[in-house]
Point group: C2
Chain length 429, copies 2
């Protein structure tokens, strides 16, 4: 054992940072055995120095400023676990690259919004940025996509990438609770981000999808083009109706190249209840990679939490300790192409829920709107009612999102549809 | 693009070899984009030169002898797709290493039986042996375990690693057919190896398990210590009885370090019907990796076939083209330790099926045998019968395989048990 140790500087000592320190401490011998060298921590930094984090920091130098940490001479790899797409995380990452350090980060927001410029900087400097922890926690999906399936033309990447949303949706079904009740429960249990809209609004999951899409399709990461819709409009009635028809509701991310361009969406969808995605319960994540030769590869595991996320960070640490170096998005950043966004390119059946006023001819008006838009009905259910309005559930034949949006707009003009109808794509998985 | 091409020599042009050539031809631009260099084929070799394989070989030199191919000056990487644990495959692999070539192989038998000595040779020569295609076809499980989870202490590796066996077991359940009927059907469809005992006898899957165990636990690959039991004794009654109790029968591989040593077994087991393993239908493979920090990672995909297996080979090709080089079992081969085999170390509940003669006191004798061996009964069912014997199904409380073996031996002495009883472990997954 004569190889020099790999020296880390870790910025951010929240759940993940502490988890990484614990793994480095307890698995030191194992890591040396597997990499042929020691992995050490030279310095750490966080907002509050005095806080007890349940891990021994006495062996590490302390820095107050992550930018200073990133530039230290005794740091080979800057580990960015601060979070936030801009601010200190980005400044320190840029400083690390400029100072000739490799970077490991768990920061999906930063990569989704600034990944391309950071990749260009890193590659110009001969440095790498690795980020297994940024997507789906402990699941080694970045590695599976970038390396494991690298001989394939990738056809589609899809999955459940936010455990909190999946927890809420499955809890609603299991406990028969409303969205608001489960949301309050999850918030109380600390399952949600400080800004819960990052979770339930689909933004966090959309960050992850945009990163995977860039790797899969060789495009500049393009978070701004992801069609995002949260789960806040999903009712317990939608979940029951979906179950009756053999489906489950999931916040599903899908990225695929179509004849018209790159489709990226993170929206609530119906998936078959007996599919791997349909059977995914609770806070677990699942990502499905579809390649031209390999077919469908399903990856399932914990998408968050101290151990799983730290495990993903350590995967990158071990790679760098072994000398495994890779371009940020799996090819030279200068060769990535701008994607042509195609939001509504592919067709699918849709599930529609609308409140119909109890007026003669109401259903005929709804049917007429759909006919005019060229959308045909596969199945329809009208539930019994004692109020002045009745829920109507419709499953359409295959159509485009554009046609569905047209229908939703026209429904309001009929004067027989109350409130905002819900439209959920039924995804073939 | 100034980097020199990576030049392959491919030995063996069966399904997988042809699939690799097709991928290299059709995805050439993509591979160059992702690796920064061209991947070319200098020469190929197979048994019969004239055969039409549906792929253009005119651009490649032909060799009749894989050893000669392995030593060619214009070959950087020797791709061994011949198969067989000894003979030409091993000779050519050794020749390639001696000639300073890296090796990619799909040969699970060769690695399971000679992996340690090959790894020592390769590492002494500064060369690598990669073998993603040797385990679970298209699923990037070697990479996930060796790299993705490399920061974790691995606790258990388990899974369904032979698609033919899973096809037979699920087809028996779905179609209500006997083992013999489904076996004949699968054989007719070409789903089985030329020697079907490699599949249904559990040997092929055990090869794969031994390889994963070596990576997971840092031990010299030890195929000889794998406890192997095939699926030939499983009846449709076992499958129905398992289903009645909420289980499914799977040929399940399990490797884990226990206090007494390394446990490796490839045997028919019962798993909960609603678990990911229980829900695995048809010829698909599933491998579950359990790490101390990451928890449970489930990987699912096609375990065989031209595209999936070629995809795995190409994953190794792309790694080498990118300069990603790794020790054979994820650490220096000289540091791998000899495992202490512990075949019966862990306890579990067991399912027992026996034919009881219709004699007074018969059940009491069976119960007495179990009591003497210290095995208590959790559940028992005796089925109605009009013959002279009745099937009895027993689920035990947790016990050891040794105690079960003792019971099975003692049952025969009671004179009330007809034929050979079946004992299947119920694995917690």
């Amino acid at each position: 054992m004569t190889a020099a140790p790999l020296r880390l500087g870790i910025a951010g000592l929240g759940t993940v940072g502490v988890g990484v320190l614990k793994m480095i401490q307890k698995n030191a011998a194992l890591i040396t055995q597997r990499t042929g060298r020691a992995v050490t921590v030279s310095a750490v930094c966080a907002q509050s120095r005095g806080k007890d984090r349940g891990v021994d920091l006495s062996g590490y130098a302390w820095e107050d400023d992550p930018v200073v940490l990133a530039k230290r001479d005794d740091v080979d790899v800057f580990v960015e676990l601060i979070g936030g797409s801009t601010g200190p995380a980005k400044q320190a990452t840029q400083a690390a690259i400029a100072a000739g350090k490799d970077v490991i980060t768990a920061n999906k927001a930063m990569l989704a919004e600034h990944g391309h410029s950071l990749a260009l900087s890193a590659e110009a400097a001969g440095r790498v940025i690795r980020y297994e922890a940024a997507v789906a926690g402990g699941i080694p999906v970045v590695k599976a996509l970038t390396e494991g399936l690298a001989g394939n033309e990738i056809q589609r990447v899809l999955g459940v990438m936010n455990g909190s949303c999946n927890y809420i949706l499955t809890r609603m079904e299991d406990a028969g609770m409303t969205y608001e009740e489960v949301f309050a429960e999850a918030d109380g249990l600390g399952y949600l981000e400080a800004d819960p809209n990052l979770d339930v609004g689909g933004i966090d999951a959309a960050h992850k999808l945009a990163i995977l899409a860039a790797i899969a399709f060789g495009t500049e990461v393009d978070f701004a083009s992801v069609v995002i819709e949260g789960i806040g409009a999903i009712t317990i009635e939608d979940i029951h109706a979906a179950a009756d028809m053999g489906y489950r509701v999931k916040l599903l991310g899908v990225a695929q190249q179509t004849g018209r361009g790159l489709e990226q969406r993170m929206t609530p969808c119906l998936v078959p209840a007996n599919s791997p995605l349909g059977q995914l319960q609770g806070g677990t994540n699942m990502v499905i990679l579809e390649g031209g030769d390999v077919g469908q590869i399903v990856l399932r595991g914990a998408g968050a939490g101290e151990g799983p996320t730290a495990s993903a960070v350590m995967s990158d640490v071990v790679d760098l300790a072994r000398g495994l170096r890779l371009n940020t998005f799996g090819q030279a950043a200068t060769g990535l192409v701008k994607s042509q966004p195609a939001m509504t390119a592919t067709t699918a059946p849709f599930y529609l829920r609308l409140q119909l006023l109890d007026k003669p001819g109401a259903l005929a008006k709804v049917a007429a709107v759909m006919g005019e838009a060229g959308v045909s009905i596969d199945r329809m259910r009208q539930y019994g009612h004692d109020a002045e309005q009745a829920p109507v559930l419709i499953v359409t034949h295959k159509t485009t999102r554009a046609a569905i949006d047209q229908i939703l707009e026209d429904f309001t003009k009929t004067q027989v549809v109350e409130g905002q109808p819900v439209a959920l794509r039924i995804e073939a998985v």
